[in-house]
Amino acid sequence: MDRTAKARPKRRREKLPPLTRAERQEVADAMRLFEEDTVWVDDHYQELLEKYPEQWIVVKNKTVIASDADLDSLVARVPELPFLCREFITRDREEAFL
Protein backbone atom coordinates (compact mmCIF):
# COMPACT_ATOMS: atom_id res chain seq x y z
CA MET A 1 0.00 0.00 0.00
CA ASP A 2 1.24 3.47 -0.90
CA ARG A 3 1.30 5.09 2.56
CA THR A 4 2.85 8.29 1.21
CA ALA A 5 -0.03 8.86 -1.15
CA LYS A 6 -2.54 8.06 1.56
CA ALA A 7 -0.96 10.57 3.95
CA ARG A 8 -0.84 13.35 1.37
CA PRO A 9 -3.27 16.15 2.31
CA LYS A 10 -6.11 16.65 -0.14
CA ARG A 11 -5.99 19.93 -2.02
CA ARG A 12 -8.94 22.24 -1.74
CA ARG A 13 -10.47 22.77 -5.15
CA GLU A 14 -10.89 26.47 -5.81
CA LYS A 15 -14.15 27.22 -7.53
CA LEU A 16 -13.48 28.82 -10.89
CA PRO A 17 -15.85 31.74 -11.50
CA PRO A 18 -17.50 31.68 -14.92
CA LEU A 19 -16.28 34.21 -17.46
CA THR A 20 -18.45 37.23 -18.06
CA ARG A 21 -19.66 37.93 -21.59
CA ALA A 22 -16.97 40.63 -21.93
CA GLU A 23 -14.25 38.25 -20.70
CA ARG A 24 -15.40 35.57 -23.15
CA GLN A 25 -15.13 38.09 -25.95
CA GLU A 26 -11.62 39.06 -24.74
CA VAL A 27 -10.59 35.40 -24.83
CA ALA A 28 -12.07 34.96 -28.32
CA ASP A 29 -10.19 38.05 -29.55
CA ALA A 30 -6.92 36.93 -27.93
CA MET A 31 -7.23 33.45 -29.48
CA ARG A 32 -7.99 34.89 -32.91
CA LEU A 33 -4.88 37.12 -32.77
CA PHE A 34 -2.80 34.21 -31.44
CA GLU A 35 -3.92 32.06 -34.37
CA GLU A 36 -3.30 34.83 -36.93
CA ASP A 37 0.24 35.29 -35.58
CA THR A 38 0.81 31.53 -35.73
CA VAL A 39 -0.28 31.42 -39.37
CA TRP A 40 2.07 34.36 -40.03
CA VAL A 41 4.96 32.41 -38.45
CA ASP A 42 4.15 29.35 -40.57
CA ASP A 43 3.99 31.48 -43.73
CA HIS A 44 7.31 33.24 -42.98
CA TYR A 45 9.16 30.32 -41.43
CA GLN A 46 12.12 30.37 -43.83
CA GLU A 47 12.73 34.11 -43.32
CA LEU A 48 12.45 33.67 -39.57
CA LEU A 49 14.86 30.75 -39.73
CA GLU A 50 17.48 33.00 -41.31
CA LYS A 51 17.07 35.65 -38.60
CA TYR A 52 16.41 33.53 -35.53
CA PRO A 53 17.93 30.06 -36.05
CA GLU A 54 17.50 27.72 -33.07
CA GLN A 55 15.82 30.46 -31.05
CA TRP A 56 12.47 31.04 -29.40
CA ILE A 57 10.52 33.96 -30.75
CA VAL A 58 7.47 35.80 -29.45
CA VAL A 59 5.15 37.29 -32.05
CA LYS A 60 2.56 40.00 -31.54
CA ASN A 61 0.57 41.51 -34.44
CA LYS A 62 2.79 39.75 -37.00
CA THR A 63 5.95 41.24 -35.51
CA VAL A 64 8.69 39.47 -33.57
CA ILE A 65 8.82 41.32 -30.25
CA ALA A 66 11.35 39.10 -28.44
CA SER A 67 13.75 36.27 -29.13
CA ASP A 68 16.06 34.13 -27.05
CA ALA A 69 17.81 30.79 -27.29
CA ASP A 70 16.68 30.04 -23.74
CA LEU A 71 12.96 29.56 -23.10
CA ASP A 72 13.24 30.23 -19.37
CA SER A 73 14.82 33.60 -20.11
CA LEU A 74 12.00 34.45 -22.49
CA VAL A 75 9.40 33.38 -19.93
CA ALA A 76 11.01 35.73 -17.40
CA ARG A 77 11.30 38.65 -19.84
CA VAL A 78 7.83 38.53 -21.42
CA PRO A 79 5.12 38.51 -18.76
CA GLU A 80 2.33 38.43 -21.37
CA LEU A 81 3.79 35.28 -22.95
CA PRO A 82 0.72 33.10 -22.17
CA PHE A 83 -1.35 35.29 -24.51
CA LEU A 84 1.17 35.55 -27.34
CA CYS A 85 2.32 33.28 -30.14
CA ARG A 86 5.67 31.71 -29.24
CA GLU A 87 7.62 29.36 -31.45
CA PHE A 88 10.96 27.61 -31.50
CA ILE A 89 12.53 28.33 -34.90
CA THR A 90 14.56 25.32 -35.95
CA ARG A 91 15.90 23.57 -39.02
CA ASP A 92 14.60 20.29 -37.58
CA ARG A 93 10.99 21.43 -37.52
CA GLU A 94 9.48 18.42 -39.19
CA GLU A 95 11.69 15.89 -37.51
CA ALA A 96 9.79 12.96 -36.10
CA PHE A 97 9.36 13.22 -32.35
CA LEU A 98 7.91 9.89 -31.31
Binding site: A5, A28, L81, T90, D92
Partner: protein, 142 residues
Protein backbone atom coordinates in the same frame (compact mmCIF):
# COMPACT_ATOMS: atom_id res chain seq x y z
CA UNK B 1 -20.81 23.41 -33.46
CA UNK B 2 -17.57 23.29 -35.42
CA UNK B 3 -14.11 23.98 -33.99
CA UNK B 4 -11.60 24.71 -36.73
CA UNK B 5 -8.05 23.51 -36.25
CA UNK B 6 -4.90 24.16 -38.20
CA UNK B 7 -2.56 21.93 -40.17
CA UNK B 8 0.94 22.79 -38.94
CA UNK B 9 3.94 21.00 -40.38
CA UNK B 10 1.51 18.40 -41.70
CA UNK B 11 -0.08 17.68 -38.31
CA UNK B 12 -3.51 18.64 -36.92
CA UNK B 13 -3.51 21.21 -34.12
CA UNK B 14 -6.19 22.97 -32.11
CA UNK B 15 -5.75 26.18 -30.16
CA UNK B 16 -7.12 25.97 -26.62
CA UNK B 17 -7.46 28.47 -23.82
CA UNK B 18 -6.44 27.13 -20.42
CA UNK B 19 -7.65 28.81 -17.25
CA UNK B 20 -7.36 28.06 -13.54
CA UNK B 21 -7.64 30.28 -10.49
CA UNK B 22 -4.03 31.37 -11.03
CA UNK B 23 -3.21 31.07 -14.74
CA UNK B 24 -4.73 31.75 -18.13
CA UNK B 25 -3.44 31.64 -21.66
CA UNK B 26 -3.46 29.90 -25.00
CA UNK B 27 -1.58 26.85 -26.20
CA UNK B 28 -1.58 24.78 -29.38
CA UNK B 29 -2.38 21.12 -28.85
CA UNK B 30 -1.53 18.37 -31.31
CA UNK B 31 -4.62 16.22 -31.87
CA UNK B 32 -3.43 12.72 -31.02
CA UNK B 33 -6.00 9.93 -31.09
CA UNK B 34 -3.32 7.60 -29.75
CA UNK B 35 -3.09 9.56 -26.49
CA UNK B 36 -5.73 8.84 -23.85
CA UNK B 37 -5.15 12.06 -21.88
CA UNK B 38 -4.75 15.69 -22.84
CA UNK B 39 -1.30 16.66 -21.64
CA UNK B 40 0.78 19.80 -21.46
CA UNK B 41 4.44 19.15 -22.11
CA UNK B 42 7.41 21.20 -20.92
CA UNK B 43 7.03 24.23 -23.18
CA UNK B 44 3.28 24.46 -22.77
CA UNK B 45 3.60 24.38 -18.99
CA UNK B 46 6.44 26.91 -18.92
CA UNK B 47 4.72 29.31 -21.33
CA UNK B 48 1.55 29.38 -19.24
CA UNK B 49 3.56 30.25 -16.10
CA UNK B 50 1.98 27.40 -14.14
CA UNK B 51 3.09 27.79 -10.51
CA UNK B 52 4.69 24.58 -9.21
CA UNK B 53 2.49 24.86 -6.13
CA UNK B 54 -0.59 24.33 -8.33
CA UNK B 55 0.66 20.95 -9.47
CA UNK B 56 -0.25 17.74 -7.72
CA UNK B 57 1.95 14.69 -8.26
CA UNK B 58 0.28 12.17 -10.54
CA UNK B 59 -0.16 8.64 -9.15
CA UNK B 60 2.27 7.26 -11.72
CA UNK B 61 4.81 8.52 -14.27
CA UNK B 62 3.88 8.71 -17.94
CA UNK B 63 5.25 6.10 -20.28
CA UNK B 64 5.67 6.91 -23.96
CA UNK B 65 7.75 5.77 -26.88
CA UNK B 66 10.48 8.16 -25.72
CA UNK B 67 10.66 6.72 -22.22
CA UNK B 68 9.30 7.56 -18.78
CA UNK B 69 8.69 11.11 -17.53
CA UNK B 70 7.45 12.54 -14.26
CA UNK B 71 3.89 13.67 -14.35
CA UNK B 72 1.71 16.12 -12.44
CA UNK B 73 -1.95 17.06 -12.45
CA UNK B 74 -3.36 20.56 -12.76
CA UNK B 75 -6.74 20.16 -11.11
CA UNK B 76 -9.90 21.92 -12.17
CA UNK B 77 -8.46 23.58 -15.29
CA UNK B 78 -10.91 25.08 -17.72
CA UNK B 79 -10.24 24.09 -21.33
CA UNK B 80 -11.89 26.43 -23.81
CA UNK B 81 -12.23 26.05 -27.57
CA UNK B 82 -13.61 28.60 -30.02
CA UNK B 83 -16.20 27.31 -32.46
CA UNK B 84 -18.18 28.82 -35.31
CA UNK B 85 -21.17 29.11 -32.99
CA UNK B 86 -19.40 30.47 -29.91
CA UNK B 87 -17.10 28.98 -27.31
CA UNK B 88 -17.11 25.55 -25.67
CA UNK B 89 -15.48 24.79 -22.34
CA UNK B 90 -15.02 21.98 -19.88
CA UNK B 91 -13.43 21.69 -16.44
CA UNK B 92 -10.70 19.13 -16.62
CA UNK B 93 -7.83 17.65 -14.64
CA UNK B 94 -4.97 18.40 -17.00
CA UNK B 95 -1.85 16.23 -17.09
CA UNK B 96 1.50 18.02 -17.07
CA UNK B 97 4.56 16.09 -18.18
CA UNK B 98 7.98 17.52 -17.52
CA UNK B 99 11.30 16.05 -18.55
CA UNK B 100 14.39 16.39 -16.41
CA UNK B 101 16.00 18.93 -18.74
CA UNK B 102 19.18 19.24 -16.68
CA UNK B 103 20.14 15.68 -17.55
CA UNK B 104 19.79 16.23 -21.31
CA UNK B 105 22.50 17.35 -23.70
CA UNK B 106 21.83 20.82 -25.27
CA UNK B 107 20.47 19.53 -28.58
CA UNK B 108 18.30 17.04 -26.75
CA UNK B 109 16.97 19.79 -24.48
CA UNK B 110 15.97 21.86 -27.53
CA UNK B 111 14.22 18.91 -29.08
CA UNK B 112 12.29 18.13 -25.92
CA UNK B 113 11.26 21.77 -25.56
CA UNK B 114 10.00 21.68 -29.14
CA UNK B 115 7.62 18.80 -28.38
CA UNK B 116 3.98 19.79 -28.76
CA UNK B 117 1.42 19.51 -26.01
CA UNK B 118 -1.25 16.92 -26.73
CA UNK B 119 -5.02 16.98 -27.20
CA UNK B 120 -5.96 13.47 -26.18
CA UNK B 121 -9.04 11.31 -26.51
CA UNK B 122 -10.49 12.58 -23.23
CA UNK B 123 -11.37 15.76 -25.14
CA UNK B 124 -11.42 14.53 -28.75
CA UNK B 125 -14.00 11.82 -27.88
CA UNK B 126 -16.55 14.51 -27.07
CA UNK B 127 -16.56 15.49 -30.75
CA UNK B 128 -16.38 14.07 -34.23
CA UNK B 129 -12.76 14.58 -35.30
CA UNK B 130 -12.32 15.28 -39.01
CA UNK B 131 -8.86 15.35 -40.53
CA UNK B 132 -8.18 15.44 -44.25
CA UNK B 133 -4.60 16.23 -45.14
CA UNK B 134 -5.25 16.76 -48.86
CA UNK B 135 -7.61 19.67 -48.23
CA UNK B 136 -6.04 20.90 -44.98
CA UNK B 137 -9.28 20.16 -43.13
CA UNK B 138 -8.97 19.88 -39.34
CA UNK B 139 -12.26 20.01 -37.47
CA UNK B 140 -13.94 19.02 -34.24
CA UNK B 141 -17.69 18.77 -34.70
CA UNK B 142 -20.14 18.43 -31.87
Amino acid sequence: MTVRGLLRGGAPYFLVWVRTASIRGAVWLLADTGAPRTTLLDTGAKSLHIPPADLEPAPSPMVGIGGVTRCSILRNAEIRLQSDEGDWSVLHDLLITQHDLQTLWPAGRSRVLNLPSILGRDIIDRFRFIYEHATGTVLLEG
